[in-house]
Symmetry: C2
Subunit: 398 residues, 2 copies
């Protein structure tokens, strides 16, 4: 394992102390973490393992497979090898002299059948949903995490730069990423994207050229595209990318566990003026929202800012999707998962806080014609924002 990629001991300690404060506030006596990303967040390892965090004191990491790597990766002091999950309650009782009366589990990801299994295994506990407190914590990125996201942003921007220099006509939307993947792999592309929600299927390239951008579909996104088949009816499809059409490339990338999610408009040779105007308008909306970012502003205020700007620019009809199929958000938290809390959505009164990192993605759909969109990742700072994305805010006519 490359040691530059391990989570520092102080990070793990800070996260544990913070969640214990939340646990005190919510009267949760113990937290049993199973989901791989939460496990990595609180332990530094993503091996096949389980983490128990008591409301006070040191956590206990149970490793099913593979102990030597878990020891290298995790700064947790108490690490126990297990053959079966069934050993865990006994080991907790042995170590802490008691089992918690109230045990927190990740209700938003734990399937019902597994919950029933844990219910029997930890019989007699009261189970509560610990996901909201875990997500509140993960929402605020530490300086170390911000540095990791910067690394991902650096690499993603090099991939966008490569795309600008190498995009060409003639391939289908499904085939186009093949032009970029060999280079992208030298930047770390190929690692698996992570999405928390079981119904949301993350994929790296969402490429919609010309009229494909005007195709609405299942996605909670203004444009879904055609996709490869009815089995997976979203993303790039069988349409060939040609010169003189708007091409929206939404590229998701993960490096060292941290994600980027960025969109730019491309065109080969030239872009028709209607699409170019819309592409410039969407950048104005994006910049207007960024200008409003500072601690204390609510998510709804950012959303409304974008809607008002779209109206002022005359794009009310296309903004966030065609009438009847508009989405009600313009961005989402991002970090160890591609989509994290909170969502920058209509009606959300939650206030921005320093350390939050968002992907901001205003988009327009001209049904049957094209899409115009942009997406950047930004950090909420003490006084405003910092753009973490390093891809120029521009339309790329190549």
């Amino acid at each position: 394992m490359n040691s530059q990629f391990t989570v520092p001991s102080q990070e793990i300690e800070n996260r544990r102390l913070k969640i214990q404060k939340e646990m005190v506030r919510e009267n949760v006596e113990g937290l049993f973490i199973v989901q791989r990303v939460d496990l990595f967040y609180f332990s530094g390892t993503a091996q096949n393992a389980f983490l128990y965090i008591p409301v006070e004191g040191e956590p206990l990491l149970f490793v099913k497979k593979y102990l030597p790597r878990a020891r290298l990766e995790s700064p947790i002091k108490e690490i126990v090898e297990i053959q079966s999950v069934k050993e865990i309650p006994g080991l907790i009782r042995e170590y802490y002299e008691t089992l918690p009366a109230v045990l927190g589990l990740e209700f938003d990801v734990l399937p019902v059948s597994e919950f029933k299994f844990y219910g029997n295994l930890f019989g007699g506990r009261t189970f509560v949903d610990a996901s909201p407190m875990i997500q509140r914590l993960r929402m605020i990125k530490s300086d170390w995490e911000i540095a990791q996201i910067e690394h991902t942003a650096d690499r993603s921007s090099k991939i966008f730069d490569y795309m600008r220099r190498n995009i060409r006509a003639g391939l289908t939307e499904m085939e186009l990423p093949g032009l970029f993947e060999p280079f992208a792999r030298t930047m770390g592309y190929g690692a698996r994207l992570r999405v928390r929600d079981y119904q949301t299927e993350g994929y790296p390239w969402h490429i919609l050229s010309g009229r494909s951008g005007g195709i609405v579909g299942l996605l909670d996104s203004p444009a879904s595209g055609e996709g490869p088949s009815a089995a997976f009816p979203c993303g790039g499809g069988s349409k060939r990318v040609v010169p003189n059409e708007p091409i929206m490339i939404d590229f998701n990338f993960v490096f060292n566990g941290y994600h980027m999610d960025e969109t730019r408009m491309f065109a080969i040779h030239g872009m028709p003026s209607k699409a170019l105007k819309a592409s410039r308008a969407i950048m104005e909306i994006h910049n207007e929202v960024l200008g409003q970012v500072k601690p204390g502003r609510t998510l709804d205020e950012l959303f409304q800012t974008s809607v008002h700007k779209a109206e002022a620019l005359g794009y009310e009809r296309a903004y966030l999707g065609p009438p009847g199929y508009k989405v009600r958000f313009i961005g989402h938290g991002i970090g160890l998962e591609l989509i994290e809390h909170p969502i920058i959505a209509q009606g959300k009164q939650q206030a921005l806080e320093p350390g939050m990192v968002f992907a901001l993605e205003p988009k327009m759909v001209f049904q049957g014609e094209f899409a115009a969109g942009i997406e950047s990742v930004f950090l909420v700072t003490e006084t405003g924002y910092r753009l973490m994305s390093k891809v120029p805010v521009d339309v790329f006519v190549c």
Copy 2:
């Protein structure tokens, strides 16, 4: 949408009639299907939609987004557009004049928080786990499904052939797929792999060269590899692929919704004799198991056949992983999901049935040295088996 990719009306009708028989047997009055793959299986559409199947009569498809595409994709007769899931119980009552007393849900994928939501929404029902009956049905592939898997197999074999002709030394394991992706995309590569279990993270290329094949890790697979970082500690890593070493390439591919999962041993220039011998032995084990395949044989019998053959060939120590970390299965069902029921595992008394499709993947790990493995997809026929994989059962020294 390309009509070659739509599921025939007769398929959808047959599946519905079969699940209704299971529902009668298990006293389930209604089935509420939410998971995207099950939804596609029973309706032919993977839009943002929900399917209600009563124990008798026509199902009802509720489409949130996007109705026009759902209508094109699904042969279901009764399709209703909804704005919110909350409308569903009222619509079911309206259409069928009653709500079912016993409602089946997919307990193996439905998260606890969503289950609680549906519990309130459908208040007063008894909820039962419908996943086992759904999986039993999906286990047996129809002729139409087998034809789809053949298409995927054709394309996957062309990608393997391309790999043989284009593999070269000098890139890292992470970078190596970049040599193959531009071609693979012309075959449909790039569509998202689907895995049912929320903790299993499917990815297309599992490339372990030389000593990387000897690295145990979190995967329930004999060799996990180094992976890109501690955040994702499996699959290809930073090791460079060099001449004269064994390279195990496990490639997952999906086309038109149906998956292939195949592994072959490669080497550039030559393969050291120890690895070559092991690679040939694993092919013998693979062939020995295939020779035992016929309806009525149990999964455990196949597993034991492989273990006995490994012993007979003197590979007991390396077979299925190093001592203490051996996996207890040699294959898994495959279809609309990469890993389906049943698993060819130790102790499983379930018998093979015609129409079952499996990925058979015996593997060996020489810890600290290398892995040797093979993987093919086969169909259980009335009298034996048919290899669906079209990649030659061979070691590819390129």
